[in-house]
C-alpha cells in the first residue's frame, strides 16, 4: 500500500500547489472591485486599500486562503459539535455507504437479469437508463416526502436516493463482469457438467469482482452526491454535509459553504480510497 501511495503523494501536492498559486491572484482579481465599493461606501473596515481588503471581505466572491483556513478551524472545532464537519461528514459517509450497499444489491439483481435473460435486458434496460435521466435534485425532495409518508425516516431515505444514482454504474459494471469469462472457461465448466448456479458461483461472480470495484469507484462518488442532495432536501434536524450546506447557504455564509464544499470533495477522495483499499484486500491475486 505504501508502495502505491508514496509515488502518488508528490504529484498530488504539486497539483495542489499550482492550484493555490493560480487561485490567489484570481481571488484578488474577483474581490478587489467589491472591496473598492465597500471602501467607497464608507463601511467600517480595518483595512486601508482595496487590495488589502480583498482578502478580508465578509462575503467575498472568492474567499482568501486565510479565510478558508479560519473557516476550517471554525467548522472543525470542537470536533464533535453538531455543527462541526466531522460528525456531519461521518453521517454523510454513513448514508453514502448504506446507499452503496443498497445499490450493490439492486445492481447485482439487474446485472444477473441482464446476463441471464435477453427478454429482461430488452424490456428493462431502457427503463433503467431512463431512470438515470431523472434529475436527482428533483427526485430527492419528492422521495423524501413519499417515504416520510410511510414512516421511512433517518438514514434510509437518503441511502435510497444515494442508491438510486449509484446502482446504474454497478449494474453495468457487474453485467460486464459476469460476461467477462473466456468462452473456453465456460466450456470448461460445461465439461464438468456444472450447474448454472455453480457456473455463477465458481466462475462468473469471482470474474466480476474487479469490474465490481471499478464500478464502485464511480458509484461511490455518485452515491455521495445523491446523499448530499438528499440531506439538503430533508426537513427537520438531521446531520450531514448536505444539511450543513443548506443551513450555511441560508445564512449566506460564503466561506463556510466553500469549506463544506471542499470537505465533501475530501470525503469523496477518502471514500474512493476506501474502495481501493478494500479492493486490494479482497483481490490478493491481482498485481
Amino acid at each position: 500500500m505504501t508502495r502505491l501511495r508514496s509515488p502518488n503523494l508528490l504529484p498530488m501536492l504539486v497539483v495542489a500547489l499550482v492550484v493555490v498559486a493560480l487561485y490567489y491572484p484570481l481571488m484578488l482579481l474577483a474581490n478587489v472591485p467589491v472591496a473598492q465599493r465597500a471602501l467607497e461606501s464608507g463601511a467600517a473596515l480595518e483595512c486601508k486599500t482595496a487590495l488589502a481588503c480583498a482578502s478580508q471581505l465578509r462575503s467575498p466572491v472568492l474567499p482568501s486562503p486565510q479565510q478558508l483556513l479560519q473557516g476550517f478551524r471554525n467548522l472543525t472545532f470542537p470536533l464533535t459539535a453538531p455543527t462541526s464537519i466531522l460528525p456531519n461528514a461521518w453521517a454523510t459517509a454513513g448514508n453514502t455507504l448504506l446507499g452503496l450497499l443498497l445499490a450493490t444489491v439492486v445492481g447485482f439483481f439487474f446485472a444477473i437479469g441482464i446476463v441471464a435473460s435477453r427478454a429482461f435486458e430488452r424490456s428493462l434496460l431502457p427503463w433503467v437508463v431512463a431512470s438515470q435521466t431523472v434529475p436527482v435534485i428533483a427526485l430527492a425532495p419528492m422521495l423524501v416526502v413519499v417515504l416520510g409518508q410511510y414512516g421511512v425516516q433517518g438514514a434510509l431515505p437518503k441511502a435510497i436516493i444515494a442508491a438510486f444514482v449509484a446502482f446504474f454504474p454497478i449494474t453495468i459494471g457487474v453485467a460486464k463482469g459476469l460476461r467477462s469469462p473466456d468462452p473456453l472457461a465456460l466450456d470448461l465448466m460445461k465439461t464438468y457438467n456444472a450447474t448454472q448456479s455453480q457456473t455463477y458461483l465458481k466462475l462468473r461472480f469471482p470474474a466480476s469482482v474487479p469490474y465490481l470495484f471499478t464500478a464502485f469507484k464511480v458509484a461511490v462518488t455518485a452515491a455521495l452526491i445523491g446523499a448530499i442532495v438528499a440531506e439538503i432536501s430533508t426537513v427537520g434536524f438531521q446531520q450531514g454535509l448536505g444539511r450543513m450546506l443548506f443551513e450555511n447557504s441560508r445564512a449566506s455564509d460564503v466561506v463556510s459553504i466553500w469549506v463544506i464544499m471542499i470537505s465533501s470533495a475530501i470525503l469523496g477522495i477518502l471514500l474512493v480510497a476506501l474502495v481501493g483499499w478494500v479492493e486490494r484486500r479482497v483481490t490478493p491475486w491481482r498485481r
Binding site: L188, K190, Y192, K202, W285
Partner: protein, 270 residues
C-alpha cells in the same frame, strides 16, 4: 462419484471411442467435418493433425459434447457424448490454460473436485497428488500469473486429471509455447500417459509433436474437413529425446507430411 461412473467402459467392439459417419455443418453452411469414421481403443494416444479448418478441434468438441453433430453417431464407452460428459468420463485441456486467476494453483486443480462434489477431505490430497504428477507441488500456493505459460498449461493438465477420467482430450495444449518448452512438455506428457494409462486424444498442427507422442496419427485435411488417413506410429516405448533422431521417426514424419500434401493440407494456412 464412484470410479465406475467416472471410467467409461469399452464398447463390445473393443473401442473406447467410436465415431461413425459423423458430419458437422455450421449454421453458416461451412462443412467443418464430413463423414468422419474413427475407432479408438482404450489406452491409445491419438493425435489429430491437420491445418487450420480441417475440423480437428471440431471433432474434439463433438466428442466432448461441447457441440452436437449434424449427422452420424458418436459413442464413448458405449455412451453418447452427452452421457459421457454428464458422467464426467473425460478431462479437457484447452488451447489456453484457462486457469481462474483468483484461485491459487492448488485451488485451480481442486475446481473440478468442488464442482463434482467430491468429499471435502479428498480434494486437497487428490489435487496435491496431481500437482506432483506434473512436477508443480512447490507452486501449490502461487497464483497463475506468477507461473510461466508452460507451467500454467501443466496446471491445466493436472486439473483435467484431478477427477481421474479415463479419457483426456487435449486441444493444441502446447501450441502457444516455445519449441524448447514444448519438447519438454511432450516428454512429460508421454510419461504421464504411461503412468496413468489414460486414453489421450490430442489435437496438434506440429508433425514432430504428433509423431513423437502418438500411437496413431489421424491426418485431417480441410474444405471440407475430413479424415484423410490414419497412420500407425510403431516407434518403441518409452520414447525419449533420442527417439526424435531415429530414421524411423523421420520416415513416419514423411508419411504424415505426404498424407497432408495429398489432401492439399499444405496449401491452406488461414
Amino acid at each position: 462419484m464412484t470410479e465406475s461412473q467416472v471410467k467409461a467402459k469399452s464398447t463390445p467392439t473393443g473401442s473406447l471411442v467410436s465415431v461413425q459417419n459423423v458430419s458437422m455443418v455450421f449454421a453458416t453452411g461451412t462443412v467443418a467435418l464430413k463423414e468422419a469414421n474413427l475407432e479408438i481403443g482404450a489406452g491409445e494416444f491419438i493425435s489429430l493433425i491437420g491445418p487450420s479448418g480441417c475440423g480437428k478441434t471440431t471433432l474434439l468438441r463433438l466428442l466432448a459434447d461441447l457441440i452436437q453433430p449434424t449427422s452420424g453417431a458418436i459413442r464413448i464407452g458405449g455412451k453418447t457424448p452427452e452421457e459421457a460428459r454428464k458422467s464426467r468420463a473425460y478431462g479437457y485441456v484447452f488451447q489456453a490454460p484457462t486457469l481462474m486467476e483468483w484461485r491459487t494453483v492448488l485451488q485451480n486443480v481442486m475446481l473440478p473436485l468442488e464442482v463434482m462434489n467430491f468429499p471435502a477431505h479428498e480434494r486437497r490430497p487428490r489435487a496435491e497428488k496431481m500437482l506432483g504428477l506434473v512436477g508443480l507441488e512447490k507452486f501449490a500456493r502461487s497464483y497463475p500469473w506468477q507461473l510461466s505459460g508452460g507451467m500454467q498449461q501443466r496446471v491445466s493438465i493436472a486439473r483435467a486429471l484431478a477427477f481421474d477420467p479415463q479419457l483426456l482430450f487435449m486441444d493444441e495444449p502446447f501450441g502457444a509455447l516455445d519449441e524448447i518448452t514444448r519438447e519438454n512438455l511432450n516428454l512429460e506428457l508421454l510419461r504421464l500417459w504411461r503412468e496413468t494409462g489414460k486414453t489421450i486424444i490430442f489435437v496438434t498442427h506440429s508433425i514432430p509433436e504428433a509423431v513423437f507422442l502418438s500411437t496413431r496419427i489421424v491426418v485431417m485435411t480441410p474444405r471440407p474437413g475430413k479424415i484423410e488417413t490414419v497412420i500407425p506410429v510403431d516407434l518403441p516405448q518409452p520414447r525419449d529425446f533420442e527417439t526424435r533422431e531415429t530414421p524411423q521417426f523421420f520416415e513416419i514424419a514423411t508419411q504424415v507430411r505426404e498424407a497432408l500434401r495429398k489432401g492439399h493440407g499444405f496449401e491452406v494456412q488461414e
